[in-house]
């Protein structure tokens, strides 16, 4: 059960091919490294369809997103679909070609915080407290980005520049965005709308058998309580 929406990507996932391949449709009969059964496969299906590629025209090689660039460097695959910073690492490693990225499809790839249903039932106050800490920290990042990035850099052993650059391809959501995200709107700025579109797509292509009831996936009361008790600084 999701209780908080954190971000959606605006270019962080990219399709990187080895040199010599210049268009998506040239991948027919070739190997593509991605993590099977994940939203990356959903993105790939969308991209392939736009390029006029039939399902199965490209051989998928299953790989964790964090290791895809190594497969491309070893020439085990002809292209990969992964997220940053691994996409740019791949581009540099093989002097590759960026065929597509999710800047063309904002709202397609959401991230949400999910909690065990039993935990939600037994420890709702703790879930609300987590949401309060999220709000406080999100405002701190907005108000003092450099101080915030310095902490993230230290925790993850990255440079502050790397931490900052990663934020340019991802839209981090605030409380207002969350109220929209948890509304029942039909567009991609609502979790319900975005999930229904993805689900319809998957049902139509027999990737999943049935439509999901999105009301059972998203719990709006925590962000609504944040809003009700909010006294902006």
């Amino acid at each position: 059960m999701a209780f908080l929406a954190s971000d959606y990507t605006t270019g962080a996932e990219a399709l990187i091919a080895r040199p010599g391949i210049t268009q998506v449709r040239e991948l027919a009969g070739k190997k593509l490294g991605l993590s099977k059964g994940t939203y990356l496969e959903y993105i790939w299906t969308t991209v392939a369809q736009r390029a006029g590629l039939k399902a199965g025209a490209v051989q998928i090689v299953d790989t964790p997103a964090e290791k895809a660039h190594a497969l491309l460097a070893q020439k085990s695959v002809d292209a990969i679909l992964t997220w940053e910073p691994f996409a740019t690492q791949a581009l540099t490693l093989v002097n590759g070609v960026r065929l597509f990225d999710t800047a063309q499809t904002p709202g397609l790839a959401w991230a949400v915080y999910a909690v065990q249903p039993k935990f939600l039932e037994q420890r709702a106050d703790d879930v609300q407290a987590l949401a309060r800490v999220w709000l406080r920290t999100t405002r701190f990042i907005q108000q003092s980005p450099e101080a915030a990035y310095a902490i993230v850099a230290q925790v993850n052993k990255k440079s502050v520049d790397e931490v900052r650059v990663l934020t340019t391809q991802d839209r981090v959501l605030d409380l207002r965005d969350n109220l929209t995200a948890f509304s029942f709107a039909a567009g991609l700025d609502s979790l319900h709308g975005s999930t229904r579109q993805m689900n319809d797509f998957m049902v139509e292509r027999n990737i999943v058998p049935t439509r999901v009831d999105t009301a059972r996936l998203f719990e709006a009361r925590f962000v609504r309580t944040l809003q009700a008790n909010d006294t902006p600084p």
Binding site: D7, D126, L130, V133, T137, Q154, T167, D170
Partner: protein, 95 residues
Amino acid sequence: MCICIHNRIARAIMLGLIAASLLMSAACGRSDAPPAAPIRIGAYYWPGFYWVDIAHQQGWFREVGLNVEWVDTNADYFASFNDFYAGKFDVVAFT
């Protein structure tokens, strides 16, 4: 002599009381309640998830009485989904 003994007893009682009160205030300073049940959260290097690293580092979870166990999932993000379904996490970010 008598006064001296009384003084000693009084001083011992006084010291005992001070020590007890110091212990009590130290205990109160630590926490009013027994430690909260842990919450296992998956952490990953990603803009939408930066807040978990920051709040953990700044002690902001502790400030609201949450006992967060920060678990690194950077080796394989999607593996944390399976771990969540297996009940190894209380909270993870799904994409």
